[in-house]
Amino acid sequence: MIQRTGTFLAPILAPLVFLVLWNFIAVNVGNDLILPGLDQVSDLLLYPYKDVISMGSLAGNVWISLVRVMVGYLWAAILAIPLGLAMGASRKIYSSLNLFLGLFRPIPPLAWVPLVLAWFGVASFATLLGIEEGDWYIWLNNLKLSMLFIIFIGAFYPILSNTIYGVSSVPKILIESSRVLGASRTDMFCKVFLPAAAPSIVTGMRVGLGVAWMCLVSAEMLPGSISGVGYLITHAYTVARIDVVVAGMVSIGVVGALLDWIFRVLEVRYFSWQRLSR
């Protein structure tokens, strides 16, 4: 019984201590501009649909950010997965592209900001589609090309690296035992390489989504942005609303952890063979 309560309590003990400590310090400091109290922040989080600092609701801004991340991330996945498959399967393609792509890998997504702004400015999907007014304009104008590019860069490399690793580390014995059955190249790809690499690809997608979500804050600090949770945080700082800053940070953390959790569930459900067959 004690043990069961222990396992139930263990994961929530650290956050609990953290919250108590936070509130204790906040009350003692007594300055909202340095550390807002737990009650102020939880008020914001409990009513996420309430308008804050006349920038729309917290939930609305998180949603806009999520859509941005998804669009940028989707492009990264669409490009990185096939490229990674090709690079993992063919030594020729790998050696001709690896050095080139390796040169861009160390550049932090944030370092792209000035160049990307020079390219795209404040152009958005609305600009691309030539829509200049109405509800659609408001929505599409949130999808700034510069932001999407930064998110794309952030998600691209983790997905690429993991896909290459997944394809190139298929055990030789699995390849050979399928080849002696007379499997064609197409069969080898669809029935051996792809399923064998799938767990790595999904891991790459999970890591990539995490990075994309983190790149978001910097992307939303770009000029021309008037919404999104990243912008909400920076704007809240300029109007000295630290409670909104913290509430925004908490939302980023919770959403990021949730996205990660979804991928982990997928990994456990569909790829348990990988863990068990070791």
Binding site: I173, L174, E176, V180, L181, S277
Partner: protein, 252 residues
């Protein structure tokens, strides 16, 4: 009579990372005839597995020729099935899906290939484990499934590369017996690589004894014992002694 498989003057050199050339096979000639059970016996490093892999089409010989029914081998093909020493089932597929893989890549319909796979699973006594994943099986069961997979693809010749090498002694003897039972029902040509003298004499019609560094054929021995075979049959012990002496002579 043309042999089913024939290698002549087969040579295979491997290059080490330091650029040294290492000769694994040095002019190996031998023939395998239809419906024959041949064991390739030799110490480790004699190139017996290399010979098998070249015949399977997984390696390319440095020189010499490999003929299958009189025409040169150019790569893997379904007429030459293979069973490996390592566990080789696809870990994400169930056992029956693994066994059905050969027919699947040759375009057999789903129901037909499933039925066929179940039939072969029954032959190796694994029908109850059809839906299990490979990691749920013991080593012996995995090798049984690997044999079923090779047979379900209907090859002319079964190349077996120390298939029981990773199993415990008891399971190993059990699987040898089962293999012979399957083979006697439906005689395929089998080339079986092993370093166990006992295994070779128990299984083979003919034993090809090889020496190491470089790999050469030392002697070919016909095994005259009746089937179904027993280790207590007359002459089994004497032949074991003789082969051991032969191997002692070739080992440095």
């Amino acid at each position: 009579m043309t042999p089913l498989l024939e290698t002549s003057n087969l040579r295979k050199d491997f290059k080490s990372d330091h650029g040294e050339v290492f000769c694994a096979l040095d002019g190996v000639d031998f023939k395998v005839f239809d419906k024959e059970f041949v064991c390739l016996l030799g110490p480790s490093g004699c190139g017996k597995s290399t010979w098998l892999r070249i015949v399977a089409g997984l390696e390319v010989a440095t020189s010499g020729s490999v003929l299958y029914k009189g025409s040169p081998v150019k790569g893997p093909g379904r007429e030459r099935g293979m069973v490996f020493q390592e566990y080789s089932l696809l870990p994400w597929r169930s056992v029956v899906e693994n066994v059905a893989l050969g027919p699947e890549v040759h375009g057999m319909r789903f129901e037909d290939r499933r039925e066929l796979a179940m039939d072969y699973l029954a032959r190796v006594g694994l029908e109850k484990f059809a839906e299990a994943k490979p990691h749920e099986l013991s080593g012996g069961m995995r090798q049984r499934a690997a044999i079923a997979r090779a047979l379900a693809n209907d090859p002319d010749v079964l190349l077996m590369d120390e298939p029981f090498g990773a199993l415990d002694a008891h399971t190993r003897v059990l699987l040898q017996k089962e293999l012979l039972q399957i083979w006697e029902k439906n005689r395929k040509t089998v080339v079986f690589v092993t370093h166990s003298v006992d295994e070779a004499i128990y299984l083979a019609d003919r034993i090809v004894v090889m020496s190491a560094h470089p790999g050469r054929v030392v002697e070919t021995i016909d095994v005259p014992f009746d089937r179904p075979r027993s280790r207590s049959c007359k002459g089994f012990g004497e032949m074991t002694e003789r082969v051991f002496e032969l191997l002692e002579g070739v080992q440095v």
